[in-house]
Symmetry: C2
């Protein structure tokens, strides 16, 4: 799929078929996650990939009501920040680096016909702590976001419809 088409047509998918995601495709999605820029190339992230139904159910429970689509997803990727690798003088860049990785997950999935929905974890600290406990994460690893993935039951792409808003753009000056 063309890159601009993937960017412009990608929409959140919350209903999935039972079809599993091929391991080769999951690996491509993870490679995409690891192919974005990161602050001083710190690559300060880690990923937990879950396909087991019971674990997906537990992840959903631990992440609040909007995370319910995860129960029917083929896979859930918990994107984490690895604070040991973060840029010392300004470690909060881990939040940006995790978001870049997660967006690459969504777009690469879209390019392969796989639907996704981004489930926010950080900065909602109850969710962060719940996921940390569920996966028994090291102290230096912080849950960032969960991306639920699966083949879409229905349309995977929205019609091409501009989401450009003129009043958000300031030319040369505010």
């Amino acid at each position: 799929m063309d890159a601009l088409e993937a960017i412009f047509t990608r929409r959140s998918v919350r209903k999935f078929t039972n079809k599993p995601i091929e391991e080769e495709k999951l690996r491509q999605i993870l490679e995409a996650a690891m192919s974005g820029p990161s602050c001083v190339n710190a690559r300060d992230w880690a990923f937990v990939v879950v396909t087991e139904k019971e674990k997906l159910r537990q992840m959903a429970q631990a992440n609040g009501r909007p995370a319910q689509p995860l129960k029917e997803a083929a896979a859930g990727i918990l994107v984490c920040g690895d604070l040991q690798r973060a840029f010392g003088p300004a470690p909060e860049y881990w939040v940006i680096d995790g978001a870049i990785a997660a967006q690459n997950i969504c777009l690469s999935a879209q390019a392969m016909g796989i639907g996704s929905v981004w489930l926010g974890t950080w900065p909602q600290m109850d969710r962060v702590e719940n996921q940390r406990r569920l996966f028994d994460l090291p102290e230096t690893v912080t849950p960032h976001s969960i991306i639920a993935l699966g083949y879409p039951a229905g349309e995977s792409a929205a019609p091409r419809e501009s989401r450009y808003e003129e009043d958000r753009v300031h030319w040369e000056k505010w």
Copy 2:
């Protein structure tokens, strides 16, 4: 350009030709920025697009040594968070939403043969305040990142080379 190719081959470009970026392409890049997901669809961002040489020089000065490529760029986009639109219960999601927009800028540019380099601003508060002052931004608008853009002097895409690291991936459990 294929979406996976754009994701896998995109690299930071810091040397640019003198060729300006066509306005139509800048608008497509901005549309891409506005086409990513955001927390509860808050769309809590705003963009300042700069093409004037003197202003680009000032932006570079205000953003530390790594921002010097901006001086030779055809355009710089200051991605900002619009805190008035942010999700009330957890406004810090603006950081993630801004990163998604900025990554879409980088990838859509790549897809059109335009090089980019991501220049970190937030969370380095001296840079944040410098950009805020330079553009006289409203109190509720916070500088996030600058993306420098231009036609690359040299290669725009790196060879396809896997950046997958097995030890960053945890299957089913940590």
